[in-house]
Symmetry: C2
Subunit: 432 residues, 2 copies
C-alpha cells in the first residue's frame, strides 16, 4: 500500500490546468491516521485507476482517467478518529476536507456508476482513512444536459393548482394503513373541502389487496373532482406507487388513468435510477419521500451528506421532495434542514427547481414558523394527524391550515385569529 512521492503527485493537479467541463467534483470530509496528502492520493487512486499501468508496459493512464486532488485542507488535529475499529483507537488523526476532480468520461451520465465512483469501495475502504463522508458532488452544466430533472417544477405544480401566492398544504390521509378505499376517499374528500391542496397516501400505503391502487385512485379521483366542483379550487390526489422497479410504469399508468394527478415514490428504497426511468414516462408530478436516507446521512462524520441526496433526487426528476424538517422529532440540525431546502432552489444547469416539504408532526401552526425561517412561500407543509386527527375531523383540519396562513397574511397572532375561527382554535388546543 505504500506510494512513492512521484506516484502521489500523479493524483494531484492544479484546477487551472484541467478542462473542468470534463470533471465532476467530489467533496469529502475525512479523517486520516496517516499523512493527509498520501491519504488523499490513495482516495483518488482507489476510486479511479487503481492500477494505472500494465506490467512491463511503459504507460500511465492517470493523466486521462485518474481522479485528482485539486484542494486539500487540514481542518484540525484529533486525538483519535471520530469512529474506528479498535486497532486505530487512540491514533492521532487529521480532520480534512478534500475536493477531487474525477473525469466523468470514466462512466458517463449514469447515476449508479457516479455513486459507485463517489461512494463505493474506493471511497469507503481507502487506506489510512477510517472516517469519511461524501459531502457533495458538483456537476458541470454540460454534463447536466443528460438529465431531465423535474418535469413540472414549482411553477408547473403551482399552475396545476392555480395557487401562486402562498405555501401549499399537503395532508397525509390517516389512518394511514388499514382502511378500504371507500372510507379512505371520504377522508380525503373532507380534507379537500376544508382546504387541503394535495391529499396524499402515506409512504407505508401501497398497492395491496385491502386497498388496490386502481380502486383507491378511482375513488379518490372521483372525490377530488367533486371537491373541485364544490370549492371552485383545483386539487391533487397524490398516490404512492412505491413498489418493485418493474411495476413502476404500470402503477403510474393505473393510478393516473384512474384519477391520481401526482405520484409518490420512496426514492432510496426503490432506487434513484428507477425514478429517473419513471421521469421519462410520467404525465404527472413526481414526489419523493425520505425513507432509508437517514441510515447513511445522519451521522455527522460518516456516510453521505443529505444535501447531496436532495440534489440527486432533484436531478432524477422529483417535482416535490419531502424531507426531514425542523424540530427535535426529526433529529436533524437546523442548518442541515436549511441546506436541504436550498438544494431545491440552487442553480443547477437547465434543471428546474423542486418544491421542498420539510416534514415532521405538523399542524396549522407550522406554516408561520416555516415561513419565518425559510423566508419564501415556495414550500409546503405535510401534516397527517394535524388534519386527520383534528377534533373536528379532516374538514376542520383542512380549514385550520388555511386559517393558520390567513393569520400570517393579516399579521395577527395565531391565538388572536383563533378567537373567531373555531377550527384553528381546536387545532391550537389539540396540537400546540
Amino acid at each position: 500500500m505504500s506510494m512513492s512521492e512521484s506516484d502521489k503527485q500523479g493524483f494531484f493537479a492544479d484546477e487551472s490546468t484541467l478542462a473542468m467541463d470534463d470533471y465532476l467534483i467530489f467533496e469529502y470530509y475525512f479523517e486520516s491516521t496517516t499523512d493527509p496528502e498520501a491519504a488523499a492520493a490513495h482516495l483518488c487512486q482507489e476510486q479511479s485507476t487503481a492500477q494505472w499501468k500494465r506490467v512491463d508496459v511503459d504507460e500511465d493512464l492517470r493523466d486521462r482517467f485518474g481522479a485528482k486532488v485539486i484542494d486539500l485542507k487540514v481542518e484540525s488535529r484529533l486525538e483519535s478518529p471520530s469512529y474506528c475499529l479498535p486497532q486505530d483507537a487512540g491514533k492521532k488523526a487529521h480532520a480534512c476536507r478534500v475536493r477531487i476532480a474525477h473525469p466523468h468520461g470514466n462512466f458517463g451520465p449514469k447515476l449508479p456508476n457516479i455513486l459507485t465512483a463517489a461512494g463505493g469501495e474506493g471511497a469507503f475502504y481507502s487506506p489510512g482513512i477510517p472516517v469519511i463522508k461524501l459531502m457533495d458532488i458538483e456537476f458541470p452544466d454540460s454534463f447536466l444536459q443528460a438529465f431531465q430533472g423535474p418535469k413540472f417544477g414549482i411553477r408547473g405544480l403551482r399552475g396545476m393548482l392555480g395557487v401562486f401566492d402562498r405555501p401549499l398544504f399537503f395532508g397525509v390521509i390517516k389512518p394511514n394503513i388499514g382502511l378500504s378505499p371507500e372510507p379512505f376517499a371520504e377522508l380525503a374528500y373532507q380534507s379537500w373541502l376544508g382546504g387541503v391542496d394535495i391529499a396524499k397516501d402515506d409512504e407505508m400505503l401501497c398497492d395491496v389487496a385491502w386497498s388496490p391502487l386502481s380502486e383507491r385512485a378511482r375513488l379518490l379521483g372521483a372525490a377530488r373532482l367533486k371537491s373541485e366542483r364544490e370549492t371552485g379550487e383545483k386539487k391533487i390526489y397524490l398516490a404512492n406507487i412505491t413498489d418493485e422497479v418493474d411495476r413502476l410504469i404500470e402503477l403510474h399508468d393505473i393510478a393516473v388513468e384512474a384519477g391520481a394527478n401526482a405520484v409518490m415514490v420512496n426514492g432510496m428504497t426503490t432506487g434513484l435510477s428507477a425514478v429517473r426511468m419513471l421521469r421519462k414516462h410520467t404525465r404527472v408530478p413526481l414526489v419523493g419521500h425520505f425513507d432509508f436516507i437517514a441510515p447513511f446521512t445522519q451521522i455527522p462524520f460518516y456516510g453521505v451528506h443529505s444535501k447531496l441526496i436532495t440534489k440527486l433526487q432533484r436531478l432524477v426528476g422529483f417535482d416535490v421532495i419531502i424531507m426531514p424538517g425542523f424540530g427535535d422529532r426529526m433529529k436533524t440540525p437546523d442548518d442541515e434542514v436549511l441546506e436541504n431546502v436550498q438544494e431545491c432552489f440552487k442553480p443547477l444547469g437547465h434543471i428546474k427547481d423542486t418544491l421542498p416539504v420539510p416534514a415532521g408532526s405538523q399542524w396549522a401552526g407550522s406554516t408561520a414558523k416555516l415561513y419565518e425561517r425559510l423566508k419564501t412561500i415556495d414550500f409546503a407543509i405535510v401534516p397527517g394527524r394535524g388534519v386527520f386527527g383534528h377534533p373536528m375531523g379532516p374538514k376542520g383540519g383542512g380549514a385550520s391550515l388555511r386559517q393558520g396562513w390567513e393569520a400570517v397574511q393579516k399579521g395577527v397572532a395565531l391565538e388572536e385569529y383563533a378567537k373567531e375561527h373555531p377550527e384553528l382554535k381546536a387545532a391550537i388546543d389539540a396540537f400546540s
Copy 2:
C-alpha cells in the same frame, strides 16, 4: 407524542398468540432516552398504524395492521446515547434489543416497501430513540415463495466451471479503467491461461465510449473460448453491466450474446429491486458488488447491519456476493465478515445458497488464510493487483493462485512450496 398505558399495550403481543406466518420479524438495536417500553411502542406505531382510528369512529386498526413488540431486552444503561444531537447529549439512555412482528399484509412481498417499513421514516425518526440500527429481518418460508433467489447458486456456478473440489479464483482485470477492449482482453486471456477461473471487470468499468460493452464482451468472449481450448478448463468472463435501471436488461443481452457468461451489478447503487427484475430475465449467474453499503452499515450503533444486506442480495438473486473481507484494509470486524459469509449459506426457505467472496487486497497467499477461517471450500478470492500486477504478468499471477491452493492441499508451507514454483515465489516477494 404522549401515549397512554392502554395505547402502549396495543403495540405489544405474546408471540404465541400470533399467526407468525403473517408476520416479518424486524430486529433492532436502539438507545432510548425515554422509557424503553414506550419507545418500543412508538417504534411500532410509527412504522405501521401511525393513527389507528378515525375521529369519532369506534375502531382499532392495530389488531390486524399494527406492528407489535414480541421481545424487548434492556442490555445496558448508558451515560449518554452513542450519538445524538446536542439537546440529547448527557441524557441517560437504555441500550435495547427489540423484536417486532410486522404484519406483511401491510405491503406484501415488495422489497422497496419492506425497506420503507423496516428502515424508513418510522424507524429512524421515532420519538425517544436517537440511536437505532436495523439488525435483521426474518421472513416466514411461505413469504419467501414470492422470491426467486439465486438462479444457479453455488452448485450451479461450480457446474459451469466443472470445479467442485476447491475455492474459486476470480481476477479483477487491471488496469481497471482506461484500456481499450483489445489489450484488456489480452490481459484476461493471460490470466485464464495461468489459472484464473473468472476474469472480471472492475466495479468502476462500465459501458463507455473507450470500452463499449458489446466490443469488450465480444473480445473477452473469444479470448475465453480460446483459453478454454488451450487449458481444457471452463472459464467465465464476468461483465459489469451496472448502469441505469432501464438499460440493465438490454446490457445483459448485449453482454451475454457477445460472449460474457456472468454479469455483475453494483446492487445498492443500482437498486436491489432492479436486481430482482434482472433475475427474472437473466440467463447467466448474477454477481453483486458491495459499493455504497458501507455508508449505512459501518457504524456499529446506527444504520443497518451488513448481514441483512447480504441476505437481501441473496433474496433478489445474486449467485455470488462480493463483500468486505478480513484485514485492516476492509475495516470490518472479523465477526461481521463471518456473519456475512454465513448469510450466504443459512437456510432461507426454498432460496438457494450464494457464493461468498470476502474481498480486499488479495493474492496467492489469501486462499489458505480464508480456508482456515471459513472451514469450507465454498468461497472465492478476488485479487486484482495480485494477478494483474504480478511481476511475471497475469499468466504468472493466475498460476500463483493455483500454486497457493496446491500448497494447502499438500499440507506444505507456502514458502516451502514456493521453492519449486517461481510464480508463487514472485507473488510472496511482491505481495506478502
